[in-house]
């Protein structure tokens, strides 16, 4: 379909060069828009609902169109089967005829994302993406509640990432808001996110998730659960999964973060304390009604003389502290 009388004569690079000229840009945009509008009204059959088709858009927005075939949203054009409201530029931005008739301008775009509120952007994207399982809980996710919309993290036309159209590399984007997490991943002992071995989404679902099946309440939040709704830690740390005959109850009931700081720690093994015996002793007090028996988490026996270095390194003997099949005290 020939949309603009000049469009075929201007090879894309030439058009770009012209667009780079500040003095020429406004007038050219107007001319392209006018030409597109003219062509739309004269050369193309009118489409219902004010849709003009993506060919009309590329006349003025050649810089976006040029690489749009690499964009996942190009599938809607390539398929040729989608209805106008689900096809190409107008699939997201809405019918373009009024925009063309007005010779451009953000305010004439039915859905200009830079002018939209976060919830409007969310609703627009969910028009197609609502039925994806990973986004099933997006409407009440902490991100949505705090006004973090799709366009806060995704850049549809200028994404530097090979997948998911992210606005930045994933960890940098998350660090942008979660600054304290950046500090945790800069600690000497950490999961290898900055090194590229892991990504935040290995453990978290930024679109929201069902509540964690371990611990109480809704903490921790936005967790990407492992198969079988386990903690995501068990996706990699397969040896901790069990089932063990002798489970260390807090590991299974409250989660790994009972003893570990999952992002990073100044302490080895991502432990919450610099030495292991304080980690253990803070729970194993024998006091009150804590523990599975409601009479205190068991106090160690009297042979555990804290003055003996042997008993300051609990897992020297209790080597299977995450769970054991052979020994109720996790000795083997």
């Amino acid at each position: 379909m020939r949309v603009c009388p000049w469009a075929d004569r201007l090879a894309p690079p030439a058009a770009i060069q012209l667009l780079q000229g500040n003095t020429m840009r406004t007038s050219l945009l107007l001319l392209f828009a006018a030409g597109a509008a003219l062509a739309q009204t004269q050369g193309s059959p009118p489409q219902p609902g004010g849709y003009a088709g993506s060919n009309a858009c590329k006349t003025c927005h050649a810089n976006i169109w040029m690489n749009f075939y690499k964009n996942p949203h190009f599938k809607s054009i390539a398929s040729g089967k989608e209805s106008p409201e689900h096809t190409g530029c107008e699939g997201c931005h809405g019918p373009a005829q009024s925009h063309i008739a007005a010779h451009g301008g953000k305010n004439t775009i039915p859905r200009a994302f830079s002018l939209m509120t976060p919830d409007q952007a969310l609703e627009t994207c969910l028009g197609c993406h609502a039925k994806d399982l990973s986004r099933a809980n997006i409407r009440h996710s902490p991100h949505t509640l705090n006004g973090v919309a799709c366009t806060s993290c995704h850049s549809i036309h200028h994404s530097p990432t090979p997948k998911y159209l992210l606005a930045k590399q994933q960890n940098e984007m998350c660090y942008g808001c979660h600054t304290q997490v950046r500090a945790q991943f800069s600690m000497p002992h950490k999961h290898r996110v900055d090194e590229g071995f892991m990504q935040c989404t290995d453990c978290h679902n930024p679109h929201g998730s069902f509540d964690a099946t371990w611990s109480m309440g809704q903490r921790p939040r936005m967790m990407q659960q492992a198969p079988g709704t386990d903690e995501p830690c068990l996706k990699c740390h397969i040896d901790k999964r069990g089932p063990f005959v002798f489970e260390h109850a807090p590991v299974r009931v409250e989660g790994c973060e009972t003893c570990h700081s999952p992002h990073g720690s100044m302490n080895a093994k991502l432990l919450r304390r610099p030495v292991v015996f304080t980690v253990c002793l803070e729970c194993h007090t024998g006091a009150d009604d804590f523990g599975t028996r409601n009479n205190g988490v068991p106090l160690q026996t009297s042979k555990h003389n804290l003055l003996d270095p042997k008993y300051q390194k609990c897992v020297t003997c209790h080597v299977m502290i995450h769970g054991s099949n052979s020994d109720p005290y996790f000795l083997r």
Partner: protein, 673 residues
């Protein structure tokens, strides 16, 4: 200009994320690639040499950093895209790799897709994992393993109303390790033995999605299989006092242990989802039944802690079961375009049980089998109601009430089959209820300015452990100012938990995080990124322990404090010199100043002195880096970088100096073709 924007975005975004000096984040060649027939191709590869010089503790260096000398493909990127979306066999191939060849962290991701027909995703990763385990076992534990993970996912008919999914994942861990084995009785010492780690996990998935009547139904069937076949050996004489009291004469002359286990976890998951203008529903149900069959055979000879010759043989066998069911139902209502009401109900039930038969033959005496049966059941019901109201374009509020009820039941049965009526057993139940409320407000007074404030308060009646949440509140706030070239952000977060009353003291935990960050890109040749964070944590808990110099230690109580004051900062600056060369300077530091030890309640007992020594763990970890990337031709760049790592503990509480400093660097060629 239009051409450079994506390049700048890519380079800047990657730069700021980069905490390791290589691979180079600067790009070369045209991001638009080259047209070949009906496809467009982009391709680049960075090949170089990485080096490192380490002073100090090599174990800690390998645990924290682990870059070593050698040639490697630091990064590679390839894409091939159909220009009209109608490729014959595929429409897009995207391949990205990092660190292949020699880096301790390697990865490769691949996507191949044909519009409307299939999409295949692959993710492969390798982690050369090293951990000296000094903290937990005095250096007697060590892992030097290679961890490999891979995921494959094939989606058929991705754009239709019904999809078929097929997936496969594999996770392996192999390598030498050191661990400890306690000999020759229950009071013996843990002695070092060698372990050959061999872990295998394979998962197979098949499922599909169907769109019908405004609903989407997803069904997934999965099976996974786990095998672990560790072999432990100890040859030669290993004496006990290496860790422990000097008077313990335990000696291990020979040791062997084999402990294979085979597990499988078949399961299924179903999800029903509908999203309409005024309402939405999301329901999930999953069930998995895990099995784990195991046996253990152990033989040790040596000298016992009483000085006599000793030998011990242990035989264990049994199995573990874990049926696990979970269900969630979320109902959402949108009475107006500004109001969202969501109610979620979740139910989980996990039951872990199994027998274990333990037989010990010590010094030729067979003590017979001991039979254990253990059960751990966790049943949890959660209901939450949340409301989100957008009052105006610049003001929104939200709040919610959450209720959780959890029942943990345990059974501890034990019997000696050789002795009539020796069976004992007991069952227990721990019930805990948590009620919590959340609230928040979000403001957007200007287009570039956003502010969010929120909080949560929770009350639990019977938490499982002394450090679990009982009476807690959380407060957080964030202010963001964003323009095209400038971003300023400040945030505060606080969490306070008081677990009281307990009989001799309360547990309290108080964390306060402060952060401020700025990103500034005034020109396309300059960008600056800076952040400062302070993470404060102080905890106080009462502990009970035994200590003494006599024959039998006495029970003592004390307060255990822990104070951590982490000051963290990072700075990144990128300068593009006449589009010919790129310079990047970065610096990151995390410094735990600990607490003021003088301010603590001094413990005057011998054990108290040990506790005082671990109330804080001040250390500094810093890493400055610099990188130069020079464009030699439009398709070729030469790169060189240097990064320093410094780890400095202020107090050597492990009686061992783990400090190190490392000079690392690389040089490479980045070629686009």
């Amino acid at each position: 200009m239009m051409k450079t924007i994506p390049i700048l975005l890519a380079a800047t975004g990657a730069l700021l994320a980069q905490q390791t000096v290589a691979p180079t984040t600067e790009q070369t060649g045209s991001p638009r690639g080259q047209d070949t027939g009906a496809y467009n191709i982009t391709d680049s590869v960075e090949f170089g040499y990485r080096w490192s010089l380490v002073n100090g503790d090599p174990g800690e260096y390998r645990s924290d950093v682990n870059y070593r000398n050698g040639l490697r493909v630091l990064a590679a990127a390839f894409s091939m895209t159909s220009k009209d979306g109608h490729g014959r066999y595929f429409d897009q191939i995207v391949l990205n790799t990092t660190g292949l060849g020699n880096d301790p962290y390697q990865s490769a991701t691949l996507r191949v897709e044909k519009n409307g027909l299939y999409r295949y995703d692959m993710n492969w990763r390798l982690n050369d994992y090293y951990n000296p385990g000094l903290t937990i076992a005095g250096g007697l534990h060590l892992l030097d393993t290679v961890h490999r993970l891979q995921d494959h996912e094939l989606l058929l008919l991705p754009q239709s109303h019904y999809h078929l999914r097929i997936g496969y994942s594999r996770n392996t861990q192999d390598g030498p390790a050191l661990t400890t084995a306690q000999q020759f009785d229950a009071n013996g010492v843990g002695l070092p033995v060698f372990e050959n780690v061999q872990r295998r996990w394979n998962e197979y998935r098949v499922g599909g999605d169907i769109d019908f009547a405004g609903f989407k139904l997803t069904l997934m069937r999965r099976w996974d299989f786990y095998t672990e076949t560790p072999v432990y050996t100890g040859l030669g004489v290993v004496s006990g006092p290496s860790i422990g009291v000097a008077s313990d004469p335990t000696v291990l002359n020979t040791f062997s242990r084999s402990a294979p286990q085979h597990g499988r976890n078949p399961g299924w998951m179903g999800n029903l989802l509908a999203n309409h203008k005024r309402w939405a529903v999301n329901a999930r149900a999953s069930y998995m039944h895990g099995y784990n069959d195991f046996s253990l055979g152990e033989m040790a000879t040596g000298i016992s802690r009483f000085g006599g010759a000793a030998n011990r043989q242990i035989l264990v066998s049994g199995s573990g079961d874990r049926p696990y069911a979970a269900g969630d139902l979320t109902l959402s209502l949108y009475p107006t375009s500004r109001l969202t009401l969501v109610n979620t109900t979740s139910v989980n039930s996990m039951r872990i049980d199994g027998p274990s038969s333990y037989t010990e033959i010590a010094n030729g005496i067979n003590f017979g089998a001991s039979l254990y049966f253990r059960y751990l059941g966790v049943r949890r019901v959660l209901n939450s109601s949340d409301a989100d109201l957008r009052l105006t374009r610049w003001l929104g509020v939200y709040g919610g009430y959450h209720y959780t009820d959890r029942l943990v039941t345990t059974v501890e049965d034990f019997s000696l089959p050789a002795i009539p009526d020796s069976s004992t057993g007991a069952s227990y139940a721990n019930s805990n209820t948590l009620r919590s409320g959340t609230f928040g407000i979000r403001l957007r007074p200007l287009k570039a300015l956003t502010a969010n404030f929120g909080g949560e308060i929770g009350r639990a009646d019977n938490p499982l452990t002394p450090i679990s949440g009982r009476n807690y509140h959380a407060i957080d706030g964030r202010i963001d100012y964003r323009t095209r070239s400038l971003r300023l952000s400040a945030a505060y977060k606080q969490f306070y938990n008081l677990n009281a009353p307990v009989s001799f003291t309360a547990f309290s935990s108080h964390s306060r995080d402060y952060s401020a960050s700025a990103s500034w890109s005034p020109r396309d040749w300059f960008s600056l990124d800076a952040a400062y964070m302070k993470l404060h944590l102080d905890t106080m808990s009462g502990i009970n322990y035994f200590a003494g110099t006599g024959f039998r230690p006495n029970q003592e109580s004390a307060l255990s404090y822990y104070v951590s004051n982490v000051h963290a900062a990072n700075l990144g600056m990128r300068i593009d010199i006449r589009r010919r060369a790129d310079l990047y300077f970065g610096y990151s530091i995390t410094k735990d100043t600990g607490g003021n030890r003088v301010g603590f309640d001094p413990n005057t007992t011998l054990a108290g002195a040990i506790l005082t020594a671990v109330q804080a763990f001040p250390l500094t970890y810093q890493s400055p880096l610099a990188r130069l990337s020079v464009r030699i031709t439009p398709k070729l760049r030469w790169n060189a970088g240097y990064q320093f790592y410094g780890y400095n503990e202020e107090f050597h509480i492990f009686s061992y100096d783990q400090n190190f400093n490392a000079n690392t660097g690389y040089t490479s060629l980045l070629w686009t073709f």
